[in-house]
Symmetry: C2
Subunit: 346 residues, 2 copies
DNA sequence: CTGTTAGCGCGTTCAC
DNA sequence: GTGAACGCGCTAACAG
């Protein structure tokens, strides 16, 4: 019987830098130099090493490099969940920016509670060079207390003292669109809130209230309804509104998902949008414009949120040197703009 | 001037196992045992080590562990792109399954050409324990030739010799829904194809043709239109169809994105769906049911695709031992079922 | 230009 | 029960 243990193809399952060195008749250091384009190498040696490496299917071992280089070339992305196009777009923005800069993306979603999230934030030591964290519902500063030291973090859509962040100018957008409705003649404008602890939700409500106030419509404050950013909650609230004795003439859902849910409920009730009931959302998730009627919405460049987050992280990593260089801008506000889509009629 | 270089808080940026050992008055081996629950440790020692580790904010260094353990506890996910809810759902499925099993997810999307994808597939040595790859457009077998040896791979929705995979029973679903249309009385059923090289697209077309054939409707084959799975292409094709002298009475878009695009075009043309024109899609992305009218679609449990992919990967890793254990099932077909949504009328 | 050597931080045999 | 020493695969000084 043959002595070889019968591995059929791709026999050398793990060829190391040493194998290449031996086969090429050079030292490991030389191979390393070749692969990292450090120090001068004689052209002939270079070619030989490359050739051997290729024939051996050699690929540098990332974990080993990380250990020695003290850097992983990957960034971690921690999101509260992964459901729907909003997060999808954020991820996409981060992904393309990362690849452009030669970084990998370690993704982690679905974190309902703080403990889960904290665990993830810890587990990344030696795994990522930086973190992009989105934690709209949780009071976030405590999350980062036991973060492995020296890890740069940028927050997406939530502030924590001393950390750079990218935020959306929620209040501005919400005020804009509410004023728009008011200009169109609406007086009774219902507002579907987001989750109680959610910062975006709170800011949007502030914008809504501000617009109402400056139009002298404070009295209508009773028209705020509790929602939680899910389609289902939008649907439910719209149902409730349908049952009201004196209905509002417009509904402002504080995100698109809820607006979509509300749309379903209104449709079931046989209402025409926007003739019978004006409806606006917030976010401009890509599908919004394929709805019937096209959803009027506050536009936020979501993928851009991800991209900028990544770029700010890179900047933070560099500004992290021993020179007491200024921490760059700590916060960047992303513009929002009112949709030019279907105009509302009262 | 003070000698300390002014690091303010969280001074020890990188506390290692050695620091813990020293502070606790034990050896690094003991600390390691404590953290990995290996070998018997005296309760007192255990508590002391844990205490010190906590007070020092010690967290094991992932790269170092990986190097020594030869395993990373993370899996890589390689997708062709990240746009839209289909991929979003796949990722979500993988993410939750991974976390349940204690794995991390390294995500990589947006790979237009083979070289880019190949580069990613290589870059993962020492970074992941396994790979989930989706590459519907590219002939995939060559992608994996220079894969670092021993890395388990499961393909999502594309077959490559010897690799386990999860596929969607596209032909079945497409045949079902086409037959359904036929039973409803439709004779002229247009079909919007997916990308030419895309395996799913091809299988769906096969299903469509099979249904036509068994109903003796082969002659209508001219009703296939080129699309590429984007909303835009669905829109364009529908426009084209509108201009036809003898229109079909039904349109079968081979994915939901194109169906959504087509829906927009039909709406612009003032057609009632499904009275004036029946329209069906394929995938059942979550938003499909919020459209007006709800999109009739072939339902595919997309997140489930991701989840199963992960689980098959784990299984493959285990079955990868030196015992010549059977490679488990190499292919699993995911069920699809016809939507019970809005019925079509001719 | 190239080789030698010393870690990077941790898991793991072995002795004790 | 616990500690000392080696190795994982690679990069970075320093020699030559």
């Amino acid at each position: 019987m043959p002595r070889t243990p019968s591995r059929l193809l791709s026999d050398p399952p793990n060829v190391t830098i040493r194998d290449v060195a031996a086969q090429a008749g050079v030292s490991v250091a030389t191979v390393s130099r070749v692969f990292n384009r450090k120090g001068p190498i004689r052209e002939e040696t270079y070619q030989r090493v490359i050739g051997v490496a290729e024939s051996l299917h050699y690929v540098p071992h990332a974990a080993a490099r990380s250990l020695s280089l003290r850097s992983t070339a990957t960034i971690g992305v921690v999101l509260p969940e992964l459901h729907g196009e909003f997060f999808s777009e954020v991820i996409r923005g981060i992904d393309v920016a990362s690849r452009q800069h030669g970084y990998h993306v370690l993704l982690s979603g679905s974190h309902s509670d703080r403990d889960e999230m904290r665990a993830v934030v810890q587990a990344v030591r030696g795994r990522v060079d930086g973190l992009i964290v989105m934690s709209p519902d949780l009071e976030p500063s405590s999350l980062l207390t036991d973060l492995p030291g020296g890890v740069p973090v940028v927050m997406l859509n939530s502030r924590v003292a001393g950390r750079p962040c990218i935020t959306i100018d929620n209040a501005h957008g919400a005020r804009e669109i509410t004023s728009h409705l008011i200009r169109l003649g609406h007086r009774r404008i219902a507002f579907i809130c987001g989750p109680a602890q959610n910062a975006d939700a709170e800011q949007r409500r502030r914008g809504y209230r501000a617009a109402l106030k400056s139009a002298g419509l404070d009295g209508e404050k009773a028209l705020e309804f509790a929602g939680n950013f899910t389609e289902a909650s939008g649907y439910d609230v719209a149902k409730t509104i349908m049952g009201l004795s004196t209905r509002p003439t417009a509904i402002f859902a504080s995100n698109d998902a809820m607006a979509i849910g509300a749309l379903g409920a209104l449709r079931e009730a046989g209402l025409q949008i926007p003739e019978d009931m004006a409806l606006v959302g917030f976010d401009d998730i890509p599908i919004a414009r394929y709805l019937a009627p096209p959803l009027t919405t506050v536009k936020v460049p979501i993928a851009e949120l991800g991209r900028r987050g990544f770029e700010m992280l890179i900047a933070a990593s560099n500004g992290h040197g021993d020179d007491g260089s200024k921490p760059a801008r700590l916060e960047t506000q992303l513009v929002v703009r009112r949709s030019c889509g279907a105009e509302l009629k009262k």
